[in-house]
Amino acid sequence: MIHKFVSTTEEAMAGIPDGATILLAGFGAGTPEHLLKGLIAQGAKDLTLVVNAGGRDDGPIAELLATERIRKIVCSFVRPASVAARLFTAGKLELEIVPQGTLAERIRAGGAGIQAFYTPTAADTLLAEGRETRVINGRNCLLEYPILGDVALIDAWQADRWGNLTHKDSARNFNPIMAMAAKLTIVQTAHVVELGDLPPANIHTPGVFVQRVLHVPAQ
């Protein structure tokens, strides 16, 4: 019987090695904050964090960064007043800034087995300096490579024991594509449902992309 539920946070986070690349979903909503706290407690270090934004002065991303166990952050922007900005300025954090749509597509490509793609985004900007560009159909385009994670931390609204997921409203954001792009996809879900309860046509992330699910009831 396929059963992807784990019963404790420790079990959910077990085995994340030092040096891992962690895909962290969320955009204002849909951040798996409980799992992020679990990662802080778990203790892996020298991590690369792939996330939309570098967080603020407080909150779970700031807490994780403050442990100084993140070596590098790959994101679309960093607020000047944030833990990430201060660590970067102090030379304690590497930063790779990626346009948000390119970030999403690199993750999607990672999950989809695409080995590279060309996009017009950023092709005529500072971000293209020293990189391969090519004119395709008359447009200057920039070569981009996929992003793959060792681990993805995912937020869900509902989950069944196969790991089929729904995401609530705009909390969907990076969750389905990050779930696809990691070797170990760990989910926190607000609700647990029986197998068969989710209408098949309404599953946002199918369980084939999910390894572990932890029930974290909404507060």
Binding site: F77, A85, P99, Q100, T125, D169, N173
Partner: protein
């Protein structure tokens, strides 16, 4: 030639001016800053669909405080509502919308726009230690039309943001179609900026004096 007194538009005034030019049926992305206010000025009976980068199609009015849904925010992470007919997509599909030419219009804020349609809106210097790109580069290259909403001159020394060549790092090259400022509406054409509209009381000469790039009057 002397001007009669003129009153530059405030930020809401710029947003309202843009809203006048958005026809029914368009699918529109509004950037952060002045553009976010544009949807407030589209009359309710005109169906315009607004997109947010985080996967929202069909942004509705802001919720009352007791009706805030923590799972439903816009790209500025402000609580929103979804209008009837709206939909959610994941982030890669949301940027497929932006990059893939599915938006009739994107309105972005900017530091500078150049007469060839270059836009600079993400960094004030190549040496800024911490960069904030967000989704602007994807939207700028992908929307069918890019309009810019910004103040005509800088707050400090009144320098023109309407330039022959951008002095700040570019967001994208040759993509801006129109600029809405507190003073005027400018169309980007192969011959440079053409003035489509000016606020009441402002003369072409005064507008030109406040603009670094050469301006043309609208033909006819």
């Amino acid at each position: 030639m002397s001007d009669t007194p003129f009153k530059p538009l405030d930020r809401n005034g710029i947003a309202a001016r843009i809203a006048r030019d958005i026809p029914e049926g368009w699918f529109v992305n509004l950037g952060i800053g002045i553009p976010t206010g544009v949807s407030d000025f589209v009359p309710e009976d005109r169906e315009v669909i607004f997109h947010a980068e985080n996967g929202v199609i069909g942004i509705g009015p802001a919720p009352s405080p007791e009706n805030v849904n923590p799972h439903l925010v816009n790209a500025g992470v402000t609580p929103i509502t979804l209008r009837t007919g709206g939909a959610f997509v994941h982030h890669a599909d949301s940027f497929a919308i932006a990059r893939g030419g599915h938006l009739d219009l994107c309105v972005l804020g900017a530091f500078e726009v150049a007469e060839n349609g270059d836009i600079a809106n993400w960094a004030r210097s190549p040496n800024e230690p911490v960069k904030q790109v967000g989704g602007a580069m994807d939207l700028a290259v992908g929307a069918q039309r890019l309009w810019v909403a910004m103040e005509h001159n800088t707050k400090g020394n009144g320098e023109s943001r309407i330039r022959r060549v951008c002095s700040y790092p570019l967001t994208a090259k040759g993509v801006v179609r129109r600029v809405y400022t507190d003073l005027a509406v400018l169309e980007v054409t192969p011959e440079g900026f053409v003035v489509l509209d000016m606020i009441p009381g402002l003369t072409f000469e005064t507008l030109q004096a406040r603009t670094e790039a050469p301006l043309r009057r609208m033909p006819g």
